[in-house]
């Protein structure tokens, strides 16, 4: 099983970042696609509580991801299960862990997506999804200093 870790330094204190990570309003702002509307965002940030996000991609396909909060330790750590639903078929479940650490001018965020498995491979090949990743790639390539 594979995992992916990314680190970001954010100029905001951990409690603000924690809210952005766990509340429906926050999730709707960053978890969805970069284009296309977010149709539904729900979040119940407590252990055993669920979150759900439904959005439309530009080609018109609708997608939904959801999961359960497994660990909630404000404003330091949140672990949640993560899966795609409402697509071709229910694919496997993976896990997202976000650790926040207060640093000089804000927060260091460590993001780990672990237990990555078939769902991602499957999704990345799905119609629409592949295209949107391509767009993402183009978007990032345009910005990245190469």
């Amino acid at each position: 099983m594979t995992s992916l870790t990314l680190v970001r330094r954010i100029k905001a204190p951990p409690d603000i970042v924690f809210e952005a990570v766990t509340t429906a309003e926050g999730i709707a702002h960053w978890w969805g696609p970069d284009a296309g509307p977010v149709l539904l965002a729900k979040s119940d940030p407590r252990v055993g509580g669920c979150y759900r996000l439904r959005f439309r991609m530009l080609p018109g396909t609708e997608h939904e991801c959801s999961g359960e909060f497994l660990v909630i330790d404000p404003p330091r750590r949140v672990v949640m299960s993560w899966r795609w639903t409402g697509g071709v078929e229910d694919p496997g479940e993976s896990q997202v862990e976000i650790i926040l650490r207060a640093i000089g001018d804000g927060t260091e965020l460590t993001f780990t997506h672990s237990r990555l498995h078939d769902e991602s491979t499957r999704r990345s090949h799905e119609e629409g999804w592949a295209g949107s990743l391509g767009k993402l790639e183009a978007y990032l390539a345009g910005r990245a200093p190469t």
Partner: protein, 145 residues
């Protein structure tokens, strides 16, 4: 635990996909998946990674050359080479008594591309999370003043 079985909202676009095309997509992914699993499993061992980086430096090497830097016996090295071969990461060719090992970069490229896709996916989202949290912080400061 109820939400583990949360009902999926039917997706209109997904309904348009025929059973056959769904089957094709899934079987393609199933095969891809097995390959990726094998690649990552093969890469998950320090001795095997050392063998691969050795092969990356030299175009090819014999089994005994590859075994030289390690404090393990030849059969153990052979076993590692078997795993790498199974994963398609190396090829072995025999000429007389010498087995020559070469690197096959294809599967590793696939694995890297797969990881890269995930990285791109989440990087864009974390960039937006960063922007959003920083905006919230500015708003909070503005209110305090």
């Amino acid at each position: 635990m109820t939400c583990r079985n949360a009902t999926a909202i039917p997706c209109e676009d997904a309904d348009k996909l025929t059973t056959r095309s769904v089957w094709l997509i899934l079987s393609l992914m199933e095969n891809r998946q097995k390959n990726l699993d094998r690649t990552f499993a093969a890469l998950g061992d320090p001795t095997r990674r050392a063998i691969l980086s050795n092969l990356a430096r030299h175009a090819s090497a014999s089994v005994s050359e590859l075994a030289e830097p390690f404090a393990i016996k030849l059969p153990a090295v052979m076993k590692h080479l078997g795993v790498l071969d199974e994963a398609g990461l190396i090829t072995r060719s025999k000429s007389g008594r010498v087995v020559t090992v070469r690197l096959r970069p294809g599967p590793m490229r696939d694995a890297m591309a797969w990881l890269r896709r995930h990285e791109l996916f989440w990087s864009a989202r974390l960039d937006r999370l960063t922007a959003y949290a920083e905006r919230k912080e500015l708003e909070a400061r503005g209110q305090k003043e």
